[in-house]
Symmetry: D2
Subunit: 303 residues, 4 copies
């Protein structure tokens, strides 16, 4: 097996200004080995692409996994996408035994937000989406309570009220799946206070990001603020992670903490916690939607 | 029962400049109730003391505990200390069912530092003590290894090498107790890698501060950095706490964290951890020695 | 001059549970000297008040200024307020040459928010006010643009559009003053992009809090993010301060920073800045409304 | 001009374990344009090198500058270094109009530390160098005072005392230059309290890193802590930057801050400042010595 690199002149003249429609992202994951960057960057060069930014990481040169995320500029990239994928599959991915994905940077990620009664994470996501800070399209907001319907309407997003009781949980999850099937690329649990079943997670077919109101693995489970208070910790935190069947055990995307003291009562912990939760969740959703997060076993690589 | 407050003129003329020898600290802990601050501040006023700084906290007005720390200026406070204590006992503490302590601010806390092979916490404490940043007198450094003897000598502190093996542990602890009996007010475990027995903690008769290299309660026990890496956390931390028989469960004095990523391998975690450990331990020792830490059940109040 | 402290039994039995209507705050500022705490706490004790929390600070025992903030519980405090003030004036304030204020903790601060087109600070304040996190009543939102009218309506707050041009500035300020005269206790400039005249600040009669989008005194004036980028700083910040005629020179209430790098372009600086601005402004408004901020010359004391 | 990329099979079998002696770093800076990564990575691949880590940044695709830092593994890299450089010059650098440098990762940077009387930055650098945390060889410590001689001796480093007075400054600088000429790759000003002349900076021939005890550009010049106190800032900082003739204006490498309050007097500011200074300087030196810092006009790119 050999790489036929058809060489081209190095155009030192800078390329034209990149409009957002000319920018795409390539993410690659494969077994590590020599020559990967050369192979991929030569491919992009032959296509006429200009690399704007590139990150790579290897979990170890012997038996490890190589991950790469490249943002490149290429004229009419949307129209050429399908062909580009086929060529990359044939010329690069097969040789590297790689999984990969290319997508235009301007394509928003379609998101369903699940929420219960706490409004802080939901409102922050809707607000950031509206001001163009998060590259998402909020396809639907699903809640087991009706409380936040008016707020969601204010942002012009659809709201679906699907009540959940222990007796109707299976039914409710089925309704939730119907409401999002084929419509979304991501589910965000923005303080959704129901535990999703393993069946739901199996069937949903897209990643699910959850925000947990503690610095995991400390205070996994219910009542983290009360337990943090009882334990006398000096910092409280929040953790955004991919939801898995093992509750609060999924790969961590982002965490942060805020300082507390003996003067911080539980209501104040809840308030300070809300601020850190919405910040951490917004960052995790942003990074996921920008293709910056790779799952690596029980952990993540975040470029 | 009534308070006889012998009133004095309020001297609006400011008192003379406070030399360090004129400053003392009063710490009080008692059941909460009305009138405590009035009683204590009136007592100090009648003594001619000028309150420089005061902190107080109540764990709840009904059935809670009141804690107070006051720094005051009073001429010739050292000479008057014994009388002051007796008067405070008689005029204030009995009425409030309070425990209390008065001590001149200039009196250093006598400290024994226990260490194994890691030098970072030890050197930082010795350096801060030397430059007058920590109000301590390092009476002795005790180690189960001889490695750090020369470093300790460089700071002019005594070094005692007491090897510990499973077979000789009881003997070694006995030697440790002999080395510090009556000599110290505080024991600091500066990455001392032996577990102290319950007997030692019972017999030592002074508080023992430990530094644990994780953000407790996450990763209690051994190998916290390795486990943090495996779990993919985005922050690592350190925790200074009072040592109790329940390993890693004692009241927390201070904690802090530092950001890590997938690029931070275990050796880098150890390095970043060392920086955060020495900072957290130094703060905890400083605050303890400044009488700023009150133990409140399994937690602490830190003024 | 002597203090007649009519002594009362120390009631060790704890007082009844404090409802929010029974809690008030006393703030005092006076020349420092001995006996101040005794005088104030004895006064409160004689009134039957139970001190819940107290902070004090002196800028120096010789010629310095003493500041105190006490939160206390006292039955029917609203009804007794006027009498309490008169008694405090007579029994305490005159002797100490003190300025003071007492007010029920449950009384919200009446606020006017000035805004231009940036929505982040405004929305955050409105949202925190709605969820009961900020002890404020938003009396009016005044803007020189109409853009945010609908958002403000969604929160049920009045919105007044007062356009400002160089030619109409004096008129506009006059209309602004009319709109808030006697109605508000505080003006918050939530990224209001017009410079208020000295006349306005003289006439408004209440404190004015501004948020500046840099870590003052670095990058005072216009375009701080662009200048931060050009200077290559590694952190950007925000500063909440009292507005004075010396633009960007007023006493600082709160500041915070966030890490940036060469990869953070100006648009990203603006986004990250928006997050830190809204957090810093919300804290400053909260602390001001909780009577926790004392102006001390060109600086502040924040309890 | 065309690139003749002689293609090789992609060896999917992982390379052998990288010893520190097999690892080298390549840093490249050139005008941006398409094909740069392909050209460089293909070059490394043809040499048999395995890229372990790579960072790149462009200041703009049109007329901007491209910077790259690659860590690669290559057997017997030391012996092959000269040839590698010549080949890179011929095959890559000329085409890209690039400046570049290759050096084995295990080669320590030779450092001269300049210091006056403050010990905190110096001791921290010496300690980190001793424990292998900083990839440096401390060739000499030069001071205008003799105070720290014994401390430096304790770490086994040479100490040169060169007094400086206004009258002897030129002479002293000449003696300093003699002491380090050809011996060092970097000068670190670890709280060296003399201003170096433009002549010195011209003649020294290696980068000079300085630590300034404020968050630049705030409080440039003398007495930053006193001025920070007077201005009432809520955070104090430290800035490590390359020294230039424009005092406190050189490109910033790293900054950090720590929270202070009205209770933090100037001596406490100095203490807290010392902690942040030594941390910031150590990071800047580490990154510089790891070839992670690129100067870009008045700013830096730090990988």
């Amino acid at each position: 097996m050999s790489i036929a690199v058809s060489a081209q002149p190095v155009a030192l003249a800078p390329a034209g200004p990149a409009g957002p429609d000319d920018i795409a992202r390539l993410v690659v994951s494969c077994p590590d080995g020599p020559g990967i960057v050369a192979l991929i960057s030569s491919f992009l060069y032959r296509q006429g692409a200009n690399i704007l930014q590139s990150d790579q990481f290897s979990t170890g040169s012997r038996g490890g996994r190589f991950m790469l995320r490249t943002e490149f500029q290429l004229g009419r990239v949307r129209e050429r996408l399908e062909l580009l994928e086929r060529q990359f599959e044939f010329e690069v991915a097969r040789r590297l035994r790689a999984t990969f994905r290319v997508r235009p940077a301007a394509t928003p990620t379609r998101v369903a937000i699940f929420v219960s009664r706490h409004d802080h994470c939901l409102l922050d996501l809707l607000w950031r989406a509206r001001r163009g800070e998060l590259p998402v399209e909020v396809v639907t907001v699903i809640s087991n309570h009706a409380d936040l319907e008016r707020d969601v309407a204010g942002f012009g997003a659809p709201f679906v009220h699907i009540p959940v009781t222990p007796a109707t949980k299976a039914e409710a999850e089925s309704a939730q799946l119907d409401a999002i099937a084929g419509q979304v690329d991501l589910v965000v649990l923005a303080r959704y206070m129901q535990v999703l079943s393993g069946d739901f997670l199996d069937d949903v077919g897209v990643p699910v990001i959850n925000i947990h109101h503690s610095f995991l693995p400390a205070f996994a489970g219910a009542g983290p603020y009360e337990r943090a208070k009882a334990r006398g910790v000096k910092l409280i935190g929040a953790t955004a992670h991919y939801a898995t069947e093992d509750l609060d055990e999924g790969p961590i995307i982002e965490q942060d903490v805020v300082r507390v003291s003996h003067r911080t009562g539980v209501p104040d912990l809840v308030r300070k916690g809300a601020d850190i939760e919405r910040a951490v969740l917004a960052r995790a959703v942003d990074w996921h939607c920008a293709d910056r997060v790779f799952v690596d076993g029980s952990t993540t690589v975040v470029f």
